[in-house]
Amino acid sequence: MTQILSIGAPILELKDLSICLHHGKQHQILVHDLNLMLRPGETLALVGESGSGKSLTANAVLGLLGNSLQISGGQILVCGEDIVPWSDKERRKLRGTGIGLVFQDYQGSFTPFIKIGKQFVETLRSHNSLSVQEAKLQAMNWLGRVGLPAERVFNSYPFQLSGGQRQRAAIAAALMLKPSLLIADEPTTALDVLTSETVLDLLDELQSQTGCAILMISHDLRQVLKRADTIAVMKEGRIVESGAAEVIRTRPTHAYTKMLLKSRPLLTEIHAQLLAEEQALAGTGDRLA
């Protein structure tokens, strides 16, 4: 099924996208001539350190650039249509139904003083013509699908949930509008390692069910290697290397990609190297003795 889908026309395509920061009369280009393509059912990971422009790129797609930032060139094609010239209103509609969003800061995903269930129902009803009852059913269904105790979470305030639970709820909220593209901006950076894994597993599973494309923004190349189909490594506003995850993992060509991989070696690699060092030391010790 996903096989067939992934041959389809691209959901998202960036063509020579440049983003520019205006500071008084000066301006500075923060993202240079970015080219990306994302097909249905695919996961594309945009990897880079802080200041690399990866989040800016995601915000540009969402139309959430601040006043001082501007798209200075290129196109953002969503389902083949350039959305750069779109009005705010059209973009807002796109954010609602076409593109879903999961933030790093799961506390910011929900209004703190309104119960989760009520927020779900309101979101559903503002995009679809549903009765309260129907919306509630759908909301409960989605909470169940992300592995949460639906009844309890529906009647909880955001602060009553743990970080992992809130991030699951945020994923449910983003996916229940059936977007064809989900943008996940550092979705697990604020979570513990084990919780991160389960959240990423969940994203994988839901993706195979819904067939949506995922644009994943991350600073941790090692973590997304296992998850993404394609990876684009960004540095200082430019993509320095991109390709299939497997190729990046086994045969990275750019020095920066290699450094990213080297700075986050697998535990098994660390372990093997340390053991070897230990033996070498013991060896020299023996010889000296």
Binding site: E49, S50, D192, L194, H219, S263, L266, L267, I270, H271
Partner: protein
């Protein structure tokens, strides 16, 4: 091996808005001279509380901490000052662990200012001048003299953490407690900071307590590892045995994620 620090059956309960959180339940550990002990755990495992108690910033409800056979619990004044000479710290977030209003060199030199009687061997030739001393310390952690008069916000996260490490080693403590020293940094910078810490530990012969949620980093740094969850020690082993079948199920889960 000589034992440097010994903690016995530490218990600590916090009371927050009516509910009691048992941060530490009967935690015992020891650290040997020059050894690095790693503590792995997720948030809420009590690993940071453990660090604060060993730093004598908090008192345990029960239990004892002994530094070379002298209890450090409830010390005040001179006796506490004596302990501070030997146990120093590097915190997680250098943005908040450096005073934003002080230039770098004043932060670096702070501990040495408090203990004028201490001159570590690596500072012998510069100790007469505070600025030269600060410059030497910065140089040791890979910064330059030009950083002396900068303010924390003018440095990158990695540079700030280097400053915090310079301050941590300045007294040449017997034990350096590193509480998630890389968690707030970019991945490439994390690796550099870990290398720096490892080098400092070797050069100065310090013991380390390395607290982190990242088991790969802990393996890299430590000789022995303690795994904590919900205030208890679940597993404890020599670092080289991390892949062994005898590991606790929880440890194996943590290992699997980064393998």
């Amino acid at each position: 091996m000589r034992q440097l620090l010994n903690a016995e059956k530490l218990c600590k309960t916090y009371h927050r808005s009516g509910t009691a959180v048992e941060a530490l339940q009967e935690v015992s550990l020891h650290i040997e001279v020059g050894e690095c002990l790693g503590v792995v755990g997720e948030s809420g495992s009590g690993k940071s509380t453990l660090g604060r108690i060993l730093l004598a910033l908090e008192k345990p409800d029960r239990g004892d901490v002994r530094l070379q056979d002298h209890s450090i619990i409830g010390l005040k004044g001179k006796a506490l000052r004596e302990v501070r000479k030997h146990i120093q710290v590097v915190f997680q977030d250098p943005t908040s662990s450096l005073n934003q209003r002080l230039p770098i060199w004043r932060s670096v030199i702070e501990a040495l200012d408090n203990f004028p009687e201490i001159t570590p061997p690596f500072l012998e030739d510069v100790r007469h001048s505070r600025r030269d001393t600060a410059a030497k310390l910065l140089e040791m952690v890979g910064l330059k003299a030009e950083h002396l008069d900068r303010y924390p916000h003018e440095l990158s996260g990695g540079q700030r953490q280097r400053v915090a490490i310079a301050r941590g080693i300045s007294l040449m403590p017997k034990l350096l407690i590193c509480d998630e020293p890389t968690s707030s940094l970019d991945v490439t910078v994390q690796a550099q900071i870990l290398q720096l810490l490892k080098r400092m530990k070797m050069e100065l012969g310090m013991a380390c307590l390395f607290i982190s949620h990242d088991i790969a980093a802990v393996r890299l740094m430590s000789d022995r590892i303690i795994v904590m969850k919900e205030g208890r020690i679940l597993d404890q082993f020599a670092s080289r045995d991390i892949m062994s079948d005898e590991r606790h199920e929880y440890t194996r889960k943590l290992v699997a994620v980064v393998s």
